[in-house]
Structure formats: structure tokens, C-alpha cells
Symmetry: C2
Subunit: 270 residues, 2 copies
């Protein structure tokens, strides 16, 4: 997006100011797309595709790595007490995982591969599992795969994966993830792209045509279904929080987040 | 496919030899995928994705630019007299156009763009029109667009096209076609790739994810629906035949086929 500004779009916070006095003091999460509310996309419930939108920490709107942020009142969602802060901060990526169900119809008996053993792969696979699917997570890091196995997920070393998956969900965050997904999906199968890392990648798209593969890009989702999943205790994400840093140590936190063995690093404002 | 051998996969011919005496002497077209008949794909009617298949003039099987070719009996389809040779030779690309309906569900009110004013674009748009869709063909060649307009198709200069199409079907045969399709499709829209030209193209896939676009590769189709369309006289393809050459002048024919103003050049065995 060529964004310049305060980054950060996954947050939980307490409302300090609002024209809606009922929400002041409430602990909230917030939908990150601030849309016009009037266009065709907005009126059909797809404000996250509104052409006039700003996006928290991504497009025209300062983000969450700060003491304060602003969002329209209608974007805020008060949290039930049963969801702790460490989990609430993951509502946004859980919603992004739930988005898959808004876009494609997956069969419960499909062979689903989640490619990537990082934070997003873990969340997508956990959300699938909570919805009675049985995905395999393929990754490169035995230590992370071991943690994901503790979460009840089926895991496998990526290098040994055999082709023939009905659906491959690329959560690698690496440009090569898409190429690997093309190798592993069966003819007439489906690839879901959950990361924007594949920018300007030289790709041989011929197998997509020859094997009649369908590729669906997938981004943000609605927060409601995500909060319901978390409130119902259907997914356990607490183990994904690797460490916490005060906001003043954000640079050190970013360095730590680059360590591939960490799932999720949190920043905490004072 | 790294194919070496006799090319050519669009043909009409007369059966000279067969263990099925009933078909000898009949004028036929032939499904180009010769499949094993036993695997899961074959048993579900998708022999064109059989991993053991040969493909006429494309993969492990000499093709149609020859005096004789061979195909399994079950691939042959006798033609009704009402379909002349010039049209019959287009059954294969018409079937490839019909394949779109086997893969995706298009709404009759969708804004559909067929990108490319060549042979494939003309055929895909004609097949869509025969099925009560109203596609626009976008192209670079005013002379070809004029001919397509005579076929009853809506046409437009590609350079002036505005984004916002619900569905863009890339029939350009050029690597840049996919990039252009990404520009022209609306968020949550659909791109159908009908050509394998986009090999090793450096593509920015981020908009596919951000705009949640679905890309479907589409290749060969069943011949039955194509022959029905042609027999019913619902599409008029005779005007797409630009010229005929005897097989002995194939090299000159290929030179002529490179002229972007020609739609289709035929080779005729003696």
C-alpha cells in the first residue's frame, strides 16, 4: 500500500473518548477497515473493500503501535470478560481465518494443507479444526510444529509433503509459498492465498491453467464470528504468545519477532 | 510440457482404420486427452486430468499436422453433416470455452470482460453470448474488433477499459494479460485464465489478496456440449477462418498465423 505512518493493526484497548458515552471505559477490539458506509460494497456488508476506506496501520490511518489510536465508533466491538487480552489481540487474524468460510465452500472430507507453521498458519489451522475440518500444517520448524501438535493440530515436515491436496492454504508469508502450493495441490484443486508476500514473484502460471486450479486471495474478515469462536473456547491461542515488550522497547520487540521460532510478540502501552 | 513431436490438436478427419468397423469412413473430431480410464479422475469424468494421459500434439502423442493421426476409439465423435469442416475444426476450442461453465457459476447479469480479440477471445465470447451472457471483448486491433462486432459481440478498445468487471476472462495469449486482468476486475471478482502464456511472469499478486480476487485456470472441455452448440447454429465461427494452406506449405501457414490480424489458419492434408 506504500503506507507511511504508525504501523500496527492487531490490538485490544480501552475506550478513552467517544461521542457514544456507553462505550467509554469498555475494553474493545476494532474492525481495522474504516469505510464510507454508503457505497455498494459497504451496503452489502463488504466495507473492507470500500474504495474510500482507510485501514488501521495499513492505509491512511495511524495504527496501534501507540499509546492511543482512533477508529469510528461503529468499528468498535466490546469484549466479553472471558477473552483475556493476550487472546483478544488475536481477534483480527482469527477473523482473517474465518474469512475463508465467507469466500469458499470446503468439504469436511477434503484433504486440506495449511502451508506455514507460523502465527497465521497456526491460527488458520486452529480455526479450521474448530469448524470440524482436519487440516495438516506443513512447516520447516520442528520446534514450532511440536507446539502446534500440542494444540491438537496435525503437522508434517513441509519437505516430505506429497502432492494431491484438495486445498492448500498459503500462510507462509514467503513469496515461494505460492509456487509450493501449486506443486502440492491436486488438479482441479484450490489454493487460498492468505498473505501478500508474493509481490513481483516470477511464477510459472501454466500449471494453474493446465491443472485448472482455482486461486482465491483472502484478507480481512468480520470480527463477530471470530469473537464467537474465542468466547466459546473452541480455539486455544494463548500458547502462541511468545513474549511481551513495553511499547518503549518496540525496536527490540521487532528484532525478536524476526526470530522464526517466535509465534507472536506483544507490545504493551503503559 | 516440454513436448517434442508432431504438433496440432484441433482437427477434423475421416476414420481410416479402427477395430470398431462402425466408425470407419465416418467424419470425426476427437477429444485430445487420451486417458487411462481407470483412475479417480477418469472415473469421475475428468480424464483430461488423468496423470497418465497423453495429449494430442501436446504431451506424448503425435498431433494433427500430419496426413494421419491416431486416437483411442472412445475419443472419437462422429459429426453431424450440418457442421462443415471449417467449423468442425473449432470444436476443440469451443469445448475449451464451454469448460468455463463446468468450473464456475456466472450470473447472467455479471459484467464480463473477455480480454483479447484473437481466435480464443472470439470463441469464448461467442459461446458466452450463445448462453445468454453479454460479455464485452476488449482488444488492441480495430480491424479484428470490427469483425467481432459483425458476429454480434460487444467490443471495446482495451486501452480505454475502466476497472470494475465482475469477471475477466484472459484470452490474450500474452503474459501481460493476467496483469491487465488484475487491474480490470473488481474486488471480490473473478479472473479466468484461458491461456498458458503467463509462464514465469513477474507478477505482483498482492492485489489478488487485498482485493480477494479468485483466479481459475481453465483448459480443455468436453466435446459434447460444443458440438451441440455448433449443431444448433447458435454460434457463427466461419468468419474466423482467415485462410487455408495445404499441409506441405505448413511453414508458410505458420508465418501467416503470426500475423495478428488473422484469426485462424487451416492446414489441409491431401
Amino acid at each position: 500500500m506504500g503506507y507511511r505512518g504508525v504501523p500496527g493493526h492487531e490490538f485490544v484497548g480501552v475506550v478513552q473518548q467517544s461521542s457514544d458515552t456507553g462505550v467509554i471505559g469498555r475494553r474493545v477490539v476494532g474492525e481495522i477497515n474504516a469505510a464510507c458506509g454508503r457505497c455498494d460494497f459497504c451496503r452489502s456488508g463488504l466495507g473492507r473493500h470500500c474504495s474510500e476506506r482507510t485501514v488501521l496501520g495499513i492505509l491512511g490511518r495511524d495504527g496501534a503501535f501507540a499509546d492511543y489510536l482512533t477508529l469510528p465508533d461503529r468499528n468498535l466491538i466490546p469484549l466479553p470478560d472471558s477473552i483475556p487480552d493476550d487472546v483478544a489481540v488475536l481477534v483480527e487474524p482469527v477473523a482473517a481465518a474465518c474469512e475463508i468460510f465467507e469466500q469458499v465452500r470446503l468439504g469436511r472430507d477434503e484433504k486440506i494443507l495449511v502451508l506455514g507453521d507460523g502465527r497465521l498458519g497456526a491460527i488458520v489451522a486452529s480455526v479450521l479444526r474448530a469448524n470440524s475440518y482436519a487440516p495438516v500444517v506443513g512447516g520447516h520448524h520442528p520446534e514450532k510444529l511440536a507446539i502446534l501438535a500440542q494444540l491438537g493440530l496435525k503437522v508434517d515436515a513441509e519437505d516430505g509433503l506429497q502432492p494431491g491436496f484438495d486445498c492448500v492454504i498459503d500462510c507462509t508469508g514467503r513469496p515461494a509459498g505460492f509456487t509450493r502450493a501449486i506443486e502440492l495441490v491436486r488438479p482441479r484443486g484450490r489454493i487460498i492465498l492468505k498473505s501478500t508476500a508474493a509481490a513481483n514473484l516470477a511464477i510459472n502460471l501454466a500449471p494453474v491453467v493446465v491443472n485448472e486450479i482455482t486461486v482465491t486471495g483472502s484478507r480481512c474478515g468480520r470480527f463477530g464470528p471470530a469473537i464467537e469462536l474465542l468466547e466459546a473456547g473452541k480455539i486455544d491461542l494463548q500458547q502462541l504468545i511468545s513474549r511481551r515488550y513495553p511499547l518503549d522497547d518496540a525496536i527490540a520487540a521487532f528484532d525478536d519477532a524476526r526470530d522464526p521460532l517466535n509465534f507472536k510478540i506483544l507490545l504493551q502501552a503503559s
